[in-house]
């Protein structure tokens, strides 16, 4: 079994807010991230698939195909967008790095399953070079 990882970058804005809480509690829990005008990051999306290299091509997956899937399923929706205001899955749930990793997995998995072959192993999202989250498909 070989793991193969592809990276892509996108830039987006967001804020953290819980409508069920007072402004004070939002400020206390989320700090500067609760600024309702939002702020932004250069994100890095890392997608890892696992499988056996094809006997003919030697590929686990075609990297160009994986790049196209990542662009179509994730970057087209997230890049240069305000995640809270323009991306449906974050209209209620906070676009934390954890939730972005989970949402990106949900966007990517159907296309990877449909292609057969390699399976999705993990999705890692870097919000900055020092902050990241990962989802491995666990319940």
């Amino acid at each position: 079994m070989i793991e193969l990882t592809r990276r892509a970058t996108f830039s987006a804005s967001h804020y953290y807010w819980n409508d069920g809480w007072s402004a004070e509690k939002n400020a206390q829990v989320f700090g500067r991230c609760a600024n309702r005008k939002g702020h932004g990051h250069n994100y890095t999306l890392e997608v890892t698939v696992a499988g056996e290299p094809d006997a003919v091509t030697g590929f686990v997956v075609d990297l160009k195909w994986l790049k196209d899937v990542m662009e179509r399923e994730v970057l087209a929706a997230y890049d240069h967008r305000h995640l809270n205001l323009e991306v449906p899955e974050f209209s209620k749930a906070n676009p934390t790095t954890e939730n972005i990793a989970i949402a990106a997995w949900k966007r990517l998995e159907p296309a990877i399953v449909a292609a057969g072959g390699a399976r999705l192993r993990r999705v890692r999202v870097y919000e900055t070079p020092e902050i990241f989250a990962e989802y491995r498909g666990e319940a």
């Binding site: 954890e98 989970i102 902050i131 990241f132 989250a133 990962e134 491995r136």
Partner: protein
């Protein structure tokens, strides 16, 4: 739903790889220039991965500010800008980055403000790193 939150911290420290269990010549052979008597230093990167359920109210596995506080108190204040050989943990243990990585894992494993410690990775330079989890 279980996810993982990762954070990278920097610390600078010196060390000398040397063990009294070996002769001077054997130390030199085993550790090369890392055995130089006055030690040397690195800018270490300590990467911490916490795994756990994503809190429905916050969207977080662990509050980053709380995690930072814990790592600062348990690890960075202890090792940053120190000579690792002088730390009690390394009096009878060579401060290789393998051993440093395991020491950091042990210091943090029961101290996280939320979630479980999935792994600790310590990068000694850009070209070498070590990782430790509960299975090893």
């Amino acid at each position: 739903m279980k996810a993982y939150f990762g954070r990278r911290y920097m610390m600078s420290a010196s060390h000398r790889l040397h063990t009294d269990a070996l002769t001077a010549e054997q130390n030199r052979a085993a550790y090369g220039k890392c055995n130089n008597p006055h030690g040397h230093g690195h800018n270490y990167v300590v990467e911490v991965l916490a795994g756990g359920a994503v809190n429905a109210e916050t969207g977080m596995v662990v509050d980053m500010a709380a995690l930072d506080k814990t790592v600062q108190a348990m690890v960075l204040e202890r090792f940053d800008h120190t000579n690792l050989n002088l730390d009690p943990l390394f009096v009878n243990r060579v401060p290789t980055t393998e051993n440093l990585c395991r020491a950091v894992f042990e210091l943090l494993k029961d101290a996280l403000p939320a979630g479980d410690l999935a792994y600790v990775r310590v990068e000694e330079t850009e070209n070498n790193f070590f990782q430790c989890d509960s299975a090893n």
